[in-house]
């Protein structure tokens, strides 16, 4: 077992360049406070696309930056320091759309779809969730029936991040009801101009308001065979593999956001005076800050560890190597843990920080405390609720009879 982890010089340089880019190019144009409406932030996303940050883990030969899952996590950690919504846009596009396309797509599909998505010329989305298939993801009702050289798809998808603006959406549909999730679900690459594709609406959410969340409907939508991702019946495994990476980057991102809030809070505790001295001199405040720092530190180390394993795992899948079952189980377990500790640590940190800010933090827009608080709620819900993550871990513990580190 390898317990050491160190960022390479290249990774450090990458982090620095992303941070510089965000501070100089994005921060000055960010909307503050509770933004009205739900307009997709094109001005910001265009800049992110030009900077090469929409395909960080994708190999260079397919238009990406070739910086691996760890590089991707570094970018998302920095992005989340800026805003949870922006991180969600980039995360949904990269982690759960472009990555499975690259991992399971044919060479033609990689050329046709992965390249423009990774180069920042197109936006992607991932559609698994349905009204009756949330945590019970295997219960999807969208169907795809063989029709000539393609498939006819009917159904709907909800809570689809980037769904309203995406050029390409990965849609999972039932191709064989008898087989269920294992073999009966197929993922299709759907282009936005396919006939029968419709964006029904966009949600109004309490947090991550810069990220748009759409409901999609497919009515007799015909999709050619060339748009089947991987093989027919492998849709569920493709989705689960993508979610492994999605979960770990989400954990890291949550911690990035929490870290930024903690640093602001430390400054506030040094400046805000009560009883004739900065509140930061009070042990009650120092204890809260210390707990925040310790928890972020531990959770971050765990998440990057999991990210490294995901990087290896994806490398094996992309190169068609067979992945031993125990290794796959380990990666899934670790990413589930990363998602839990990343999101819940962030939740506790932001909660304490708001308490330190007092009413100031409760007021809209001040130091973005209120936005961070509204944003963090979703972290424990999306990409598999934390209860489902616990289920994955718990089931494995029960069946193996011990916790293998």
């Amino acid at each position: 077992m390898v317990l050491e982890f160190q960022f390479t010089e290249q990774q450090e340089l990458f982090r620095q360049s992303v941070r510089e880019f965000i501070d100089h190019e994005l921060r000055p144009i960010m909307p503050r406070g509770f933004t009205e409406g739900h307009e997709f932030p094109w001005a910001i996303v265009r800049k992110i696309q030009k900077q090469g940050l929409m395909g960080v883990p994708i190999p260079r030969e397919y238009g990406g930056a070739g910086l691996g899952e760890v590089g991707y996590c570094i970018m998302l950690e920095e992005m989340a320091r800026l805003d949870g919504g922006i991180a969600t846009i980039v995360g949904a596009h990269t982690g759960i759309c472009v990555v499975p396309l690259w991992l399971f797509g044919t060479e033609e599909q990689r050329e046709k779809y992965v390249r423009p998505l990774a180069e920042g010329k197109a936006i992607g989305a991932f559609g698994l969730t349905e009204p009756e298939a949330g945590s019970d993801a295997a219960n999807i009702k969208t169907t795809a029936v063989k029709d000539g050289d393609g498939w006819r798809i009917n159904g709907s998808k909800i809570w689809i991040t980037n769904g309203d603006v995406a050029d390409y959406v990965m849609v999972s549909a039932v191709t064989d009801p008898a087989l269920g999730a294992r073999g009966g679900v197929t993922t299709f690459i759907v282009e936005k101009n396919f006939e029968g594709f419709k964006v029904v609406g966009v949600e109004d959410k309490m947090g991550i308001r810069l990220s748009t969340t759409a409901e999609l409907q497919f009515t007799d939508m015909w999709v050619p065979d060339s748009c089947v991702l991987g093989n027919v019946g492998e849709g569920f495994i493709a989705a689960l593999t993508a979610l492994d990476g999605g979960r770990v980057s989400l954990g890291v991102g949550n911690l990035g956001g929490a870290h930024a809030i903690l640093n602001r809070t430390i400054q506030y505790a040094r400046a805000r005076e009560q009883f004739g001295q900065p509140i930061g001199k009070q042990q009650a405040i120092q204890f809260m800050l210390a707990e925040c720092a310790a928890e972020i530190w531990a959770a971050r180390a765990a998440c990057y560890h999991a990210a490294q394993d995901v990087e290896n795992y994806y490398h094996m899948v992309a190169h068609g190597k067979s992945v031993p079952r125990p290794y796959r189980a380990k990666v899934s377990r670790q990413t589930a843990m990363a998602k839990i500790i990343g999101s819940e640590t962030a939740g506790r940190v932001i909660d304490r920080c708001l308490q330190i800010y007092g009413a100031r933090g409760f007021a809209e827009g001040f130091d973005d405390l209120e936005a961070a608080f509204r944003d963090h709620i979703i972290n424990e819900i999306y990409e598999g609720s934390n209860e489902i993550q616990r289920l994955i871990i718990g089931r494995e513990l029960y069946s193996t009879g011990e916790f293998i580190l």
Binding site: E9, Q10, E12, L13, F14, Q16, S17, V18, E20, F21, H24, E25, K50, Q51, G52, L53, G55, V56, R60, A65, G66, L67, G71, M75
Partner: protein, 266 residues
């Protein structure tokens, strides 16, 4: 085709470093090194020249073997080649000894246009560029804003107060880039990949440059920094005064002004 060479220097990202009471030297352990900001502008200018006229843009720095990160960043920003000048004997070099090493490398690289930052953020001498030009016996224009190549002549513009001056310099020449130029681009994710995979760093030592031990490093340095002291940061704007006239005139006015401020000059 134009052969552009940009001389860069890695500086601490945070200049607020501690100074050792014992040695009087800044404590630089654990410092993150970045390209001096004005040299980032010089790199951008170099890449622009090559884009418009063809050729290659090479970055060169004199530093320790272990510190290649600034060169990698330059490659990530779009430079074609990077050269690290490193040798145990280069240590402790002042501006002149540094200029000797750089000019030897520039001769070896057959530079048409040499670009530098006008000064570094950490030592602030603004001497190395002009010294290199002197050693190579080529013309120099300092604190430039932009350049344009017309045949074998480089047109260099420079902002002086509210005026914009244009200079002409025949190739080869040296241009030091000032802060008037717009902030340079930030390395993209693609650039950072390329900097570590498709591009490499060439390493030259004293022998490669054919330099004598006495002319480099501490040995070859006529000046010494006695010590550093930490002082309160100066508040308010930095005063800038321009002297006009021919070289002798400017020098005389300058000395008079220094004396009027209590400078001990004979």
């Amino acid at each position: 085709m134009v052969n552009v060479v940009v001389c860069i220097k890695a500086v601490p990202s945070d200049l607020n470093v501690a100074v050792s009471r014992r040695t009087g030297e800044p404590i630089l352990e654990g410092t993150r090194w970045v390209i001096n900001n004005w040299e980032k502008r010089a790199i951008a200018l170099g890449i622009e020249l090559v884009k418009n006229h063809g050729g290659a843009c090479t970055v060169v720095t004199m530093d320790e073997e272990s510190s290649k990160v600034a060169l990698r960043e330059a490659l990530a920003l779009g430079a074609d080649k990077a050269v690290l000048l490193t040798d145990k004997s280069f240590e402790g070099a002042d501006t002149l000894a540094t200029a000797r090493v750089l000019s030897a490398a520039l001769t070896k690289l057959r530079a048409d246009v040499v670009l530098t930052g006008s000064r570094t953020a950490d030592r602030r001498s603004a001497q190395v560029g002009p010294m290199v030009a002197q050693l190579l016996n080529i013309p120099a224009v300092t604190f430039a804003e932009s350049t344009e190549l017309k045949g074998k002549t480089l047109h260099v513009t420079k902002r002086i107060g509210t005026k914009l001056a244009t200079y002409e310099a025949p190739l080869p020449c040296l241009v030091s880039v000032g802060a008037d130029r717009a902030a340079p681009a930030i390395a993209t994710a693609w650039g950072i990949y390329d900097a570590y995979t498709t591009k490499d760093i060439i390493v030259w030592n004293r022998r490669d440059l054919d330099l004598h031990e006495d002319s480099v490093g501490r040995e070859g340095s006529p000046t010494r920094v006695r010590r550093f002291e930490k002082v309160q940061e100066r508040k308010g704007p930095i005063e800038c005064e321009f002297f006009e006239g021919d070289a002798d005139d400017v020098a005389r006015q300058f000395v008079r002004r220094l004396k009027s401020r209590g400078g001990n000059i004979r």
